[in-house]
């Protein structure tokens, strides 16, 4: 199946809507759109009249709108066309209406709503902005912009809504948006407060939306079944948006199975609610129900071919047809065929190690396999995750399903440590599983970051003699600054740093802060305290309740103690000195002034110990020491770098060679393991590790490395076969040894080492 366009340039209607096959007019409207419709048409009620007729007489409603198509008002005809599903006609009519009434803000708002309903958010945003330029007080335009921001999880949404409510505290639509915003961050009390006016609104559609949100609050609090469901269905038995709304909040709190149950109810009472079919399909994929997900998305696409997320996801699924699935009791791996052999053994080992290690530390070892999908193209991963390209994360865990960029999707040069990222995601599998997905975002991220630091493949290997900040793994310098500038959020509000960041870089700061909070809790209260917090989340407590129950203190006290901990942890870290020293070291190195470069690099290390990111002072120091003829000091610097979690391939390669030269073969092997894990698709790193393992008397492990090399279709295929033959021969697996040495010699008959091995095998 091929699908052509990601999006249309102008809104067009699904074919079946144009043909008028009976969708109740409500079908085309999401709850918020309907509310907006009512808001702008309160006094011009032909549209409202037709629409309200739909509650009792769908066919009458359609006839009513058909009559409106003959109205002299272009804007009204546009509304009628939209309601009847002829989106192209509606688009053309709105365009005409704005031309004939260039100063009419209301028409622009309605046109923007049309774009919003057809997934063309940027166009909608532009029209709302145009409307506000005409009429700066236009509330509908403001709320249109708020809805755009809400969909993007932008913090400005709240500001817009609050500004509207400041002028009219009972504004129904603004309160509906305020309730959604509160519920996005789990503030059920505030959400309930905001629903007071919508729940008694005269407009039935707005009241229904309020009921759906009230039901969602009940679901989020675990108080199900919600009485609001029956009340809403009593008003409108086919109000599928009720369950779709509830499902949305399950999705954003990562309870995909619960979301699927709600979406299934939504499409059961309203089989033509295509948005619910789409969300259902995407969430079925998130729980690894591939076939059902695909079928459901196909259905959604048939009903509404213009949903970008559906089109993108179906195109992605088409492209996955040739992918293999490797499954056993522990891991189900969906992986690109070109990378399968090279990555499978590493992924399996990382996942099983992470499940066992992290699971044991938190008292929950999943007894089900972890599904891992690795995408060589970042945009495919993004589409698989959210239906849209352009997300900034590297991996995501949907319960027991982990999706990630494959090592080939991003450059190591930009600091992508895929193995550590996989460890992070598997830690999510543990925390989500341990709490039935009730864990808060920040705590799940915090545990994952903390476990990357403590137990992951690039963990910090501290030395007992270290003092001050050198005792700890370095965190990004921006976090030190954020702490000193009081930009870190109180723990109770830390989720907002992820969901609604207010400054550039806050999401990354929040990740690290969450990790630091977990580190602090483990330090001050013991590792078991982290498990107790998970238990509290599992029992339905929120962040404040969980912290206070597990730590037996107030969350304010935890905040204060955390701040003091960071003061101590970052004591002596001097960002300004570090940055200046790094610049001096780099400048001196470029001129070959190794003495100055070494001095400046040491100053950088003193100002910011264990900095192993990009750039790091340790490789610079190593170069400078080598430049001064101090190879042992160069090795020490690189070894410190590796212990601190540094993974620059060039630095590790130099280190491994130097360790070999210094007869420290065991250390060299450990470093080469890190190097191969960092660059698992590089023939050289895997070959070198295989050689080291064979040398160290571990032929079985060496064999895996050589098999990986062969799967990468190396330039020197004869050599790859020969090394495989050597490992098989060492394992006394003569037939495989013979086969591979013959394959090597078939390519290169004069390959001396292979000829010798052939003789040896046949002796």
């Amino acid at each position: 199946m091929t699908r052509r366009a990601r999006r249309s340039l102008t809104p067009r209607a699904p074919r079946n809507q144009i043909s008028g096959k009976s969708k109740g007019v409500l079908r085309r409207f999401g709850p918020t759109l309907l509310a907006a419709l009512a808001a702008v048409s309160a006094n011009a009620d032909p549209v409202a009249e037709c629409r309200d007729l739909g509650f009792s007489d769908p066919e009458g409603s359609r006839n009513c709108f058909r009559d409106l198509l003959a109205d002299p008002s272009t804007a009204l005809r546009a509304e009628a066309a939209w309601a009847l599903g002829d989106i192209q006609l509606a688009n053309g009519l709105f365009r005409s209406a704005t031309k004939s009434a260039p100063d009419d803000a209301v028409v622009r708002v309605r046109w923007g709503e049309l774009f919003l309903s057809t997934y063309q958010v940027a166009d909608a945003e532009a029209l709302f902005a145009e409307a506000l330029a005409i009429d700066p007080d236009n509330v509908a335009a403001k709320l249109g912009l708020a809805r755009v921001a809400l969909g993007r999880f932008e913090a400005r949404a709240m500001g817009i809504v609050e500004s509207v409510l400041a002028g009219d505290p009972d504004h129904v639509e603004a309160n509906l948006l305020a309730a959604r915003l509160a519920l996005q961050v789990g503030d059920t009390e505030r959400a309930r407060e905001s629903l007071r006016s919508p729940l008694v609104a005269e407009d039935l559609l707005r009241r229904l939306e309020g009921m759906a949100l009230a039901a969602a609050i009940d679901h989020m609090l675990g108080s199900v079944p919600s009485a609001w469901e029956a009340k809403a269905l009593e008003i409108h038995p086919r109000y599928g948006e009720l369950f779709e709304t509830v499902a949305h909040f399950y999705v954003i709190t990562r309870r995909y199975r619960e979301a699927i149950a709600q979406l299934t109810r939504a499409v059961a009472i309203d089989p033509e609610l295509w948005s619910a079919h789409a969300t259902l399909g995407i969430n079925l994929l998130r729980v690894n129900r591939f076939d059902e997900g695909r079928r459901t998305l196909t259905l959604a696409h048939d009903g509404d071919p213009y949903n970008v997320e559906v089109v993108n996801t179906l195109r992605l699924l088409d492209s996955l047809d040739g992918w293999g699935v490797l499954a056993d009791d522990d891991v189900i791996l969906r992986i690109h065929p070109a990378e399968s052999r090279a990555l499978a053994s590493y992924v399996k080992r990382l996942v099983t190690d992470a499940v066992a290690t992290v699971g044991e530390r938190y008292g929950f070892v999943p007894d089900y396999p972890v599904v891992v999908e690795l995408y060589p193209r970042h945009q495919d991963f993004a589409v698989r995750t959210s239906g849209l390209p352009g997300i900034g994360v590297l991996g995501v865990a949907f319960g027991d399903v982990v999706l990630m960029d494959s090592p080939s999707a991003r450059s190591v040069v930009e600091g992508f440590d895929w193995a550590s990222a996989l460890w992070h995601e598997v830690a999510h599998v543990v925390t989500l599983g341990a709490t039935n997905n009730l864990v808060s975002r920040w705590f799940s991220e915090g545990v994952s970051v903390f476990e990357e630091w403590q137990t992951g493949p690039s963990r910090f290997r501290g030395t007992e003699t270290a003092e001050g900040a050198a005792r700890y793994r370095a965190v990004p310098i921006g976090v030190v600054k954020a702490h000193r500038e009081a930009e870190l959020l109180p723990i109770a509000l830390l989720d907002e740093g992820f969901i609604r960041p207010t400054y550039l870089g806050q999401v990354m700061v929040s990740y690290t802060q969450a990790g630091l909070v977990c580190e602090f809790i483990a330090h001050a209260y013991g590792q078991a305290a982290l498990s107790r917090i998970l238990d509290a989340y599992r029992d339905g407590k929120d962040t404040v309740g969980s912290l206070e129950a597990a730590l037996d203190t107030t969350h304010h006290a935890v905040d204060e103690a955390f701040e003091a901990y960071l003061d101590d942890r970052f004591a002596g870290v001097d960002p300004a000195t570090y940055e200046l020293a790094m610049q001096e070291a780099a400048a001196a190195a470029s001129k070959g002034d190794w003495a100055l470069a070494a001095e400046a690099a040491r100053r950088a290390i003193a100002a910011y110990p264990n900095a192993a990111g990009v750039p790091s002072p340790y490789p610079l120091l190593a170069r400078a020491e080598a430049g001064q003829g101090n190879p042992a000091a160069a090795v020490d610097a690189l070894f410190e770098y590796w212990r601190a979690g540094g993974r620059s391939p060039n630095a590790l390669n130099r280190l491994a060679g130097a360790l070999d030269d210094a007869q420290r073969h065991e250390d060299a092997l450990a470093v080469r393991r890190s190097l191969a894990l960092t660059l698992p698709l590089a023939v050289e790193t895997r070959t070198q590790l295989g050689d080291d393992l064979l040398e160290a008397g571990q032929p079985r492990e060496a064999l895996l490395e050589y098999q990986a090399v062969l799967s990468l279709e190396p330039h020197d295929a004869a050599d790859a076969h020969y090394r495989l033959a050597r490992a098989y021969h060492r394992l006394n697996e003569s037939e495989d040894a013979r086969r591979h040495v013959l394959l090597a010699l078939e390519i290169a008959p004069r390959f001396q080492d292979a000829l010798s091995l052939l003789l040896e095998i046949n002796q």
């Binding site: 991003r410 450059s411 190396p714 050599d719 010699l745 008959p749 004069r750 292979a754």
Partner: protein
């Protein structure tokens, strides 16, 4: 020094002729005599020219690449002329090619390698050197009198793809760093070509010699990996037209002298290698078992002959340490 002539002094001891492994192929090659001229006249001539760098980093890189190519060719037994800096002028290049034309004969192999920046104005490819830049047409005209039947041009510059068609000629393989003249960014190909000369893995057939084709394939792949790893759009796509497999541009090990009493073993190795090639060509008509059984038989015999050759060589006196790698630039 700006002009360096390196005579890959093939000081052939009377019996130190072709290395053990190269002889069969050469003896089957009508264009190459089985034995080189015993007086030490090289059978291969190479001109390496490094053009203007423009910036110090490029100048340094081009100089290193030129030096690597010249050094490896010399070690493989070629007579090498390396032109750098002022000597790498239009006239300097013309004169060097004229010299090659004078000194080479039909059975020789001639390699011309240009390293640096090139341009293409939509009509002419030009190689950037001090003074007037030579065009691809100039190079083609200067090479015309060279009567060596096997020639290789390696144009490792930006826009060099534009020179492909101009330099193409029967018996001449042409390697360019770019697919066409519109790939104008500074080329990295020359660096990867130089890497190939030092990389044992470039020698895919393990005959201890790196051919022009092997160096090209290595560099082509390394270049693609470079761009892929950095997720950059590749701004150059190297191109090889013709047979570059018969030009040896580097060796991975020094050649072994062949004592007269070992000639029969060398011949046996060559016969077995030819038999293996023949078996490989019959691969499709044999079952897997048959094929691998026969292959193993031949390879075992080859291994034993090779082992005996090695043992006999170990017993022989050490060769003169000053004798460079044997002169098998051509095979």
């Amino acid at each position: 020094m700006t002009r360096r002539t390196l005579l890959g002094a093939l000081i052939a001891v009377a019996a130190c002729i072709l290395g053990s492994l190269g002889q069969a192929a050469e003896s089957q090659d009508p264009a190459v005599s089985a034995l080189p001229e015993a007086k030490g006249r090289p059978q291969a001539r190479m001109l390496v020219v490094t053009g203007l760098g423009g910036e110090p980093d490029y100048a340094r890189a081009f100089a290193q690449q030129g030096d690597a190519s010249a050094r490896h060719a010399e070690a493989a037994g070629a007579a090498v002329t390396l032109l750098t800096e002022e000597a790498a002028s239009r006239e300097g290049i013309r004169d060097a090619i004229e010299e090659i034309a004078r000194e080479s004969n039909e059975t020789d192999k001639v390699v011309v390698q240009l390293i640096g920046h090139g341009t293409f104005d939509g009509e002419h490819y030009r190689f950037n050197v001090p003074g007037p830049d030579p065009t691809a047409e100039d190079l083609a005209a200067w090479l015309k009198p060279v009567n060596a039947k096997r020639q290789l041009a390696v144009i490792a510059t930006s826009a060099s793809g534009a020179a492909q068609g101009v330099l193409a000629r029967e018996g001449r393989a042409v390697i360019t760093a770019t697919r066409h003249g519109r790939e104008r960014n500074a080329s990295l190909f020359g660096g990867f070509w130089a890497d190939a000369l030092d990389a044992p893995s470039a020698d895919v057939d393990k005959d201890q010699r790196i051919s022009g084709e092997e160096a090209f394939r290595f560099a082509e792949r390394a270049l693609a990996t470079f761009y892929e790893d950095r997720q950059l759009i590749a701004t150059e796509h190297p191109r090889l037209e013709g047979d570059a497999g018969s030009f040896i541009v580097a060796r991975t090990a020094p050649g072994e002298p062949v004592e007269p009493e070992l000639l029969h073993l060398v011949s046996r190795v060559d016969e077995l290698t030819a038999a293996i090639d023949e078996l490989k060509s019959d691969r499709r008509v044999l079952t897997d078992d048959d094929y691998f059984d026969k292959l193993q038989d031949l390879l075992l015999e080859l291994a034993r002959a090779d082992q005996e050759l090695k043992m006999r060589r170990e017993d022989a006196p050490e060769p003169d340490a000053h004798v460079p790698f044997r002169g098998d630039f051509a095979r």
